[in-house]
Structure formats: C-alpha cells, structure tokens
Amino acid sequence: MRRYVLSRCGQAFPVLFGVTLITFLLTHVALGDPVRVMMGQRADPEVVARIRAEYGLDKPLWHRYALYMGKLLVGDLGYSYRQGRPVSETLAERLPATVRLAVAAMVVAVVLGMAAGIVAAIRHNTGVDLLMMTLSLLGISTPVFWLGMMLILLFAVSLGWFPISGYGDGAFGHLVLPALTLGALQAGYIARMTRSALLEVLRQEYVRTARAKGLKERVVILKHGLRNGVLPILTLVGISLGDLLVGAPLTETVFAWPGLGRLLVAAVGNRDLPVVLGATLLFALIYLGANLVVDLAYALVDPRVRLAE
C-alpha cells in the first residue's frame, strides 16, 4: 500500500510540470502585457521599459520560464504585481475560504445526490423516480451564476432567510447559499450515478441472498447494495472536486466570497501573472490530492482492489 501511495505521488510531478508549462505559456501569450494594463496606453515608454525590466518581462519567454521554475523549485511563487507581496501569502490567506466552500458544496452534493439517487432507484420507474431525475437534470443544466442569483433573490432578498453575500467572518448562514449553488451541479451528476449504480447492484444475486437471509429491506439496500454501488460514485466525487474548483470562481464572484476563485478572476483581469500561475498550480495540486484520496478509498471499500496491488 505504501509503495502504491509513493508511486502515485511520483506520478504527480510530471503532471504539475505540465500544468506550469501550459499555464505559463497561455498567461504570457494570451493575457497581453501586464505593464501596459497597469500603466495605461499613454504611459511614458521609458517608464514602461523600466518597470518591464524590473519585473524581468524584457527577457525572452523561455528565459522567464526558466527563472520562474528555478524559484518555484525552492517554493518561491514570486511577488504579486498588484499587491506587491509574496503570492504564497495571498494564496494562504484565500485558501481557507475556498476549502470551506468546496467542502460544504461537496457535502451538499453527496448528501442530496445520493439521497435522490437511492430514492429514485428504490422507486424505480415511478413518478418519484421521474421527479428525482428531472430535478437532477435541472441541477446539471442550470448555469451556476444564474442559479446563484435566483437563490439570492428568493432566499435572501424575498424571504430574508440568509444573507445576500459576503463571508460574514465564517458565519454558517453565509455558507448556505454559495454551497447550494456550487453543489447543485454535482448533486445532479451524483444522483444519476447513484441511481444507475444501485439499480445495477440490486439485480445481483447476492442481493437476493441477503433478502433470503431475512434482512430488512433498508439493510439490504444500504449495506449490501450501496457498498457495492459506491465505487463508481467515488470516482465521480473525485472528478467532481475538479469541477467544484472550476465552478468556484463564478460562485465566489456572485456571492462576493473571498476565496481563491475570486482572486483568480481578479488576477486575470489585472494581468497579475504570478498570482494567476500560483492559483492555477494550487488548484492542480488540490485536484491531484483529491484523486489520490479517492483511489485509496477504493481499496478501503473493495477488498478485491486491495489484494490486486
């Protein structure tokens, strides 16, 4: 097991290297000249040239990449152009809010999604099934920013149950609407996957054996059924985490949530290249970590995976 974890961590390095290369190229080519954005089009060419030299932007692209990687290897993410302080500091400051939102959204997605999926599977081919699957389709197809605004209109503006936006120093009430918004999409996917996985498992002969033992239907479905059906759901949860991070910038913007996503959106707007790079790298790292955890969870759930290694 330990060898497996180590080899998986080893595989992460080439992936992270690729992420830095692609992000570096894209940001430097596509986002344009950060100094021009900062100083405006009519700035004194001499001043522009001086600032550019100061940031090392006058050097060829490969040279700049080499410099960046050199620093990155010793854990230096560089300085933010905008804030004039280390990128790592900025990221560390924003990370907790994003993690909080992502975890809350994941809980929403797993709880709502699996509950809807289980109900739909048990009431297979009935009105309840149809209702659950329609809701899940809505969850999947509704754009995040639109759903966020509708939830604000209904629950914050009209009903006044939750605050409209902001972090509220970590108050629980502030977390509810953003988590619902961000979790809705994944809840839809998880509901559909749970339903089909459970329907497949409930056809298996060992489920009949469990019933023949005289077990309660609840035990048959939740223990014998779900334990076997949970594998594809786990995979989906791993992939979902990536989508939660991608969805975070929109949700964080709608709800003025001080997380990494909003930082990233602002940094792209400001052409704050070191922050863009740093945040992207951090997203990639979280994504890789989450998938490793999912793979290890596989081994916990299924003894056949454990022994195959």
């Binding site: 002969e205 060992y206 054996t209 005289g214 077990l215 014998h224 003894p303």
Partner: protein, 324 residues
C-alpha cells in the same frame, strides 16, 4: 392435500407480466413436504422449479413477477397472507435457501464470516462477538478447514467448493426446518459435487430438516430424494416416491428424462443417449391441451383438446397423462 406435512403448496400461480404478455411461470403447482424428508424437484431449465422455490420465500422480483393465486402453508400458516415483517422472520430462519452460483450469490465486499454472522445477529439479537463465534462454529460444521482464519477471507479468495460450503453454512446457521437447495451442485466440478451432496445429506440427517432439492440432475435425485416431483411448463406432471419414479415412470416426459441419462451397462458400451425431441415450450404460447403433446412420442388425438388432470394412478404415484 396430505396430512402431517411441513409445507403444503396448493394451486400456486406465479406470473410474470412482461411487455410481450403474461408468462405463467408457475401455473397451478400443488405439492407438499413432510418434516425431515427430501423432496426432489426436477425439470428442464425454465420449467418453473426456481420460481416455485422463490415463491415459497416470497422473493419473486416484483415487478415484473407476482404470485397471483394459491396458498403456501408452512407449519399451519399461509405464507402468502403474512405481513412482510413476519415473512422476514421466517426467511433465513425457519426456511432458508441456497443458490446455484456460489460466486455471484455471495457479496464480494464482505468477509464470509460477516455474511454468515449477519443473519445470526439479525434474527437472534446477539452481540457481534457472539454472532461471529457462532458463524465460525457453523463454518466448522460445514467442514471448512481452519474456519477461524477462513472467516476473515472474502468470497473471491475461496474455491468454488468452499464458497458453496459458505452458502450452506449461511443457510443452516439458524437451524431451519426447511432448506431449499436450488441446483446446489450445478456450478461445481464433478468431484466437488459429490462432496457437497454428501455434506448436505449428512447435515440433513443431523439437523432433522426437510430439504427441497431442485435439480435437473436425475443422478443426484436417485441418490438423495425420498419423493420426486417432476415439473414441465409451470406444472407438476408427475409425483412419486423415488423408487416408483425410477422403476415405473408414468409420464412420457419423465420417461424421456430417464432415457436421456447415461447408463453404465456391461456389453452395451456404445448405446446412444436419447434426447427428448423438440424445444422447451414458449410459456407465452402454450398449447391448450397437454403442454407436452408437441414433443411427446406417444401423443394421440385426445391429448390436444383439454389438459389432463393430475391423477393418482397408484397409491402415492400421480401423473398428468391420459395414457397413464
């Protein structure tokens, strides 16, 4: 129908409602099992043996299946009228069942010890520890070597024969009065088959339980059964003691089944096996008269218009054939 029986099935009707029409998988089956006896239930695939067995435990998948008529009396109670909760307390306890395929019938993600202990814990409300100890004891009883260690293993770590022993352990853990064994040896190697049959019969004697042995293997029936019920197209076509059935089979279908068995006879080593001509009938489109008529070598004109009744031809020997 007969007194002193443990289980009496009267006119059981189990139908499957499919898109193409109603499949009468079991259509008017009547049979009974006495305490401690072994009843062989024989017939080709699809004749309704398994559906009859699953009907007893009310495990017919619904939809599409439903028990639409008849009674199943077990120890004086009609199982078909029991509330679900009472039925659950009978399943795995007073009546238990073992299935054909031990690989797919065991849950791959739980240890075999847990799968045996689970039923004990559920029915007798004992602690986890005690249920586990008793599970190990049952595994020892079905002659699994080193049961204390094997209990921690998963189904895929065991051989086919050991898996079927686990299935038997699971079924016998609570000392049932009736065991339904649905083709318990079909998926196993021939050498293992004999061991499993011997084990089952030994345990039956020890525990004084009745067994319904479902099989298409007449060899196993000849070795083990006290009485035999032959099914065809969802009906009972013949019922007799094992000796009567093998000595003087009355229904042409039973005769066909016996003739299709390989025999070891000196001097006739190369006798060809006889097969029953034709195919298993389509249950959606059965003939109105005798259901076996289209395949019967002795068919006469009177076989077609109406279906013959199951008649007692000799004491204890029943057949559904006008020629018997």
């Amino acid at each position: 129908m007969r007194n002193g029986s443990l289980l009496t099935i009267q006119d059981l009707q189990t139908h499957f409602f499919t898109g193409e029409g109603v499949v009468r998988a079991v259509d008017g089956v009547t049979l009974s099992v006495r305490p401690g006896e072994t009843l062989g239930l024989v017939g080709e695939s699809g004749c309704g043996k398994t559906v009859t067995a699953l009907s007893i435990l009310r495990l017919i998948p619904n939809p599409p299946g439903r028990i639409v008529g008849g009674t199943i009396c077990f120890e004086g109670r009609d199982l078909l009228r029991l509330p679900e909760e009472e039925m659950r307390s009978i399943r795995g306890c007073a009546i238990s069942m073992i299935f054909q395929e031990p690989m797919t019938s065991l849950n791959p993600v739980f240890t075999v010890g847990e799968q045996v202990a689970e039923g004990i814990r559920h029915h007798q409300k004992v602690s986890r520890r005690e249920a586990w100890d008793r599970a190990v004891e049952v595994l020892r009883r079905v002659k699994i070597p080193d049961p204390a260690r094997r209990a921690y293993e998963y189904p895929h770590q065991l051989s086919g024969g050991l898996r079927q022993r686990v299935m038997i352990a699971m079924a016998l853990a609570l000392g049932p009065r009736l065991l339904i064994a649905d083709e318990p040896t079909t998926a196993l190697d021939v050498t293992i088959q004999a061991q499993i049959v011997d084990l089952l019969m030994g345990l039956q004697e020890e525990m004084q339980m009745a067994v319904i042995l479902i099989t298409h293997d007449l060899g196993v029936i000849a070795e083990t059964a006290d009485r035999v019920v032959v099914m065809y197209a969802g009906r009972v076509v013949e019922e007799a003691s094992a000796e009567q059935l093998f000595e003087t089979p009355l229904h042409p279908y039973t005769q066909g089944l016996l003739e299709s068995l390989p025999k070891l006879e000196t001097g006739k080593r190369h006798r060809r096996l006889t097969a029953i001509p034709g195919l298993i009938p389509n249950l959606l489109d059965l003939p109105t008269g005798c259901k076996f008529a289209p395949r019967c070598p002795k068919v006469i004109g009177d076989c077609w218009p109406t279906e013959p009744e199951l008649r007692e031809i000799r004491p204890g020997h029943w057949a559904r054939c006008i020629l018997a």
